[in-house]
Symmetry: C2
Subunit: 261 residues, 2 copies
């Protein structure tokens, strides 16, 4: 299991380690059970109860529980935070299919391109779930959402929102086209102020690494929006920019829904 | 100078270390010069030019430049990131005075209470500057904005926005009262949806540590707002929540300014 700390091993086996009770709780409340869990000997009683057959959906295989001591725990952990449980989950990402995603009525898809910081990637997944996005799609050079830091930043949202990985900009553009989804890209400078753009419809919001913005291929594929800022300051960071635009889209949907403008 | 890595030494001497060229550049463009700078020997030519008498405001004392090798540099650094320059600055925070802050016409003040994570604190300072806030006021148990991690997260915004430190909630409430500023607190659950609250006026926005929200004293002192979220998800993090509300306030001011509703 220690091998799953390495990205390559995770992707070979399509398994990842989720550290801590918050992530386990989020998974269980989304109806997702781990394959196995390493539980600190001292924490056995309450944690193992949650994974016992009584709590499980009938027909689902029971997770294997390993009671381990603090030393083994810290060897499995990638965060060195003295966690009481580390769970092993199957990957949750899906294929971008040609079937119309029913969720589109909820909110936009978020496309994240070239974001190298796992904390930013996790925070964006969390924001997407919080603001009712339909799903999160990641480009090929984006930090691994299954890494310990990214997972922690999602606060469990990774179990709550559809996730698609390794999608190149070209693939995204043709998929969006087939799904009748507009592409709206965020850029720090070029673009329409975000509150003046129409974000109440069905679209993919493309955000890119901090200084680069969304890839040119996507900027050229649709509208470009900008978050207006006081002149002197560096653009706000990627996670903040994504959160603000997802918030704005939610605000416009709520507004539209309530009949007022 | 290595002593300034410790918070106590920073506050005794009211001096802090700013690592990297981005922070130095942000300070210089705000007209703020360091007292001294440690420059990597190899980076001498272009960096020392920026701090030479020709670039300085007449009458300002010239910063002392120390050319040091990589080993000394890494001993001064708190970030271990191989930086080429570390500058020594006077503290930039001010006293909350009874004079009416002229800047109020711009945007709200942001009050941050009990935020322990320096990255969140720095990000909020950056968001406040980006969205035209009048200033950032910090409560007593908030992470030090002069710590290396917080400074890095501000991306230099710490030199661009008025900063007030160590202000207790009671002091804030009476100051706001004298300044005719409303207090609007953010809370994850209780409160009016933020887009339905009036954020175009003069107010202090109070945000608190992730799970605690703003202090009760402030929640009781005025309106409470909530960022509407999809039900299942943990509240978005402090930096995101603050950014979104500051964005919303800016949107409402721009809207009001343009004559439309």
């Amino acid at each position: 299991m220690v091998r799953l700390k390495r990205k390559r091993s995770r992707y070979c086996r399509r398994l990842f380690l989720a550290e801590g009770e918050d992530l386990l709780t989020a998974a269980l409340s989304a109806g997702i059970f781990p394959q196995a869990a390493f539980v600190d000997q001292g924490a056995e009683s309450d944690l193992t109860k949650r994974l016992s057959p009584d709590s499980l959906i009938p027909g689902r295989p029971e997770p294997e529980i390993y009671l381990v001591d603090a030393e083994v725990m810290s060897r499995i952990s990638g965060l060195r935070s003295g966690t009481r449980v580390i769970s092993v989950f199957d990957f949750v990402d899906r294929r971008l299919s040609s079937r119309a995603p029913a969720a589109t009525a909820r909110g936009p898809f978020l496309f994240i391109s070239g974001a190298g910081d796992p904390g930013n990637v996790g925070t964006l997944v969390r924001a997407a779930a919080a603001f009712g996005a339909a799903g999160v799609i990641m480009g090929p050079k984006t930090a691994d959402p299954y890494s310990p830091k990214a997972l922690r930043a999602t606060m469990g949202a990774i179990f709550q929102i559809p996730l698609y990985l390794g999608i190149a900009p070209d693939e995204l553009v043709s998929w969006a086209d087939r799904q009748n989804l507009a592409i709206i890209s965020a850029d720090a400078h070029r673009g329409k102020p975000v509150s003046e753009a129409d974000l109440a419809g069905a679209f993919v919001l493309a955000v890119g690494a901090e200084r680069g913005g969304a890839p040119e291929r996507l900027l050229a594929a649709g509208q470009v929006v900008t978050i207006p800022q006081a002149a002197e300051v560096e653009s706000i960071n990627l996670a903040m920019a994504g959160s603000v635009i997802l918030y704005e889209a939610q605000r416009q949907r709520r507004c539209r829904g309530s009949g007022s403008l």
